[in-house]
Subunit: 275 residues, 2 copies
Amino acid sequence: MGSTEQTRSAASGRRGRGLSAERIARAALELMDESGVGAASMRAIGARLGVEAMSLYKHVATRDALLDAVVELVVAELNTDPDVQSSPQHGWREYLSRLAHGVRRYARAHPHAFPLVTTRPAEAPWVNPPLRSLPWIESLLSALLAEGFTDDQALFAYRSFNSFLLGYLLMETGAMTVHDPQPGDGSFSAPGNSEPAPVPGGLSPTRTEHEQANLEDAESKTEVLNPQDDIDLDRYPVIHRLARGLAEDHFTEEFESGLTDMLDRIAQRLAANPA
Amino acid sequence: MGSTEQTRSAASGRRGRGLSAERIARAALELMDESGVGAASMRAIGARLGVEAMSLYKHVATRDALLDAVVELVVAELNTDPDVQSSPQHGWREYLSRLAHGVRRYARAHPHAFPLVTTRPAEAPWVNPPLRSLPWIESLLSALLAEGFTDDQALFAYRSFNSFLLGYLLMETGAMTVHDPQPGDGSFSAPGNSEPAPVPGGLSPTRTEHEQANLEDAESKTEVLNPQDDIDLDRYPVIHRLARGLAEDHFTEEFESGLTDMLDRIAQRLAANPA
DNA sequence: GCCTTCGGATTACGTCGTAAGCTTGAATCG
DNA sequence: CGATTCAAGCTTACGACGTAATCCGAAGGC
């Protein structure tokens, strides 16, 4: 296609067109941001870069490695976040708070890629999301130690930080990627575990339409199921009544208050067994 | 293969062999538990049930719907959990605590399937993991309202419950599914965002071997990267020093203390603006 | 000059989800 | 009872996927 012109505007100053592992990961991330994780197939990534799919393997071992690189790329946005500090300037609270806000920023910037960050298997059980990289784990731990934390206190803070961000941000980004509802309910049983199954519709009759949306993709469908006119009043009266409240967005305020409480929890631990 | 004997031991008392949406979902879940999400292909599920892959479509609309059914199946373990109560018997704290422990139980029982529970797009932004089903959301909310919560208090508790469990359990189950390490590090940049890239190895040279392990699968490889002999002492001195502490398992104790704190947080909210 | 090296294209294989149509045997009804 | 119906399961086939193997042409070093 086109011509054999090879502009060679690459920065590395070597052969080939500007392809590189990072550029590939960046293209993959763009595709995910636009159309979900599933849209980032090797062929699609190649097409976006004006290259055949197989050429990517000259820079990336496998698609799995590429996904890991995307995760790394996302987390690496912390490096260029101006509000995040690499070491505590005004105490550990501000350090952790700024870092947490940085994490939230990258999570909200890539709601489709964030599940990747949270669920891809790590190289060790203690390399946890949402930091996921040894450099940042090192940074956090050494920052806390420098602030006078004991080893145990630092590790406790590390775990609390991880689980808090994981929970809140997965909720928040998950709420951003929702697909269309189903007519039938299809529950196998009810919470009261007394009646077997009073479900009327059973399995859905009309659902021939297919859209690829496994764990891999998560379509963008931002359309929100407006609760108050879809919820079955008889089966779910409380949900029906609280519909408006359920749909309200409390993410920012509760992120702040949850973060504060988490930091308080850590501070409490500091006071409990002082160094 | 075999013979044309058709034992017809099905419970439903109709035609066909015992196949059903629930049996299919159960087979899929077993495959996931054994070998990761990716192992539950339509063909593999069919094989496990002694049936061709296409036969599954007589009971399941699409593989996506099947994954949703698996999620439902996992969450439905709450229904048969003897310690979980369908309505508060001794106050909301015990109700929520028992429910939380029930969720933890199903999460630990299916560490490979749990990411599905946490990341599959829901039918509405407020249908959140780890409950994910309208019956259980209804149950939780009505339980709290019955205990005297205001609407806002119940919704706050619902969100706190979700994000706490999401965070802790994703950490815990994530630590159970770890894959083998890579020789090279491959970071694009370091946390201090001062030096560009002091990485020695760059991209991995020897990694021709492939094993399917995208978000879909997450191989079982329970082998743990023993920190103290693999961590680069020069680049990550703190991690190296804290290696033993990082590898320690604090999940149960910190789940308990975190749960207590979360319930305290809710109680605080009750006191703040009393009904 | 040649020769190595390396980045990209080509071809091809096995597996995946699944659309379309066929077969079959139990349930139903005359 | 035999004819009909029809859902459950089988067969075939297609396009998209990840990727192994191979080839090719140009840039760099000698």
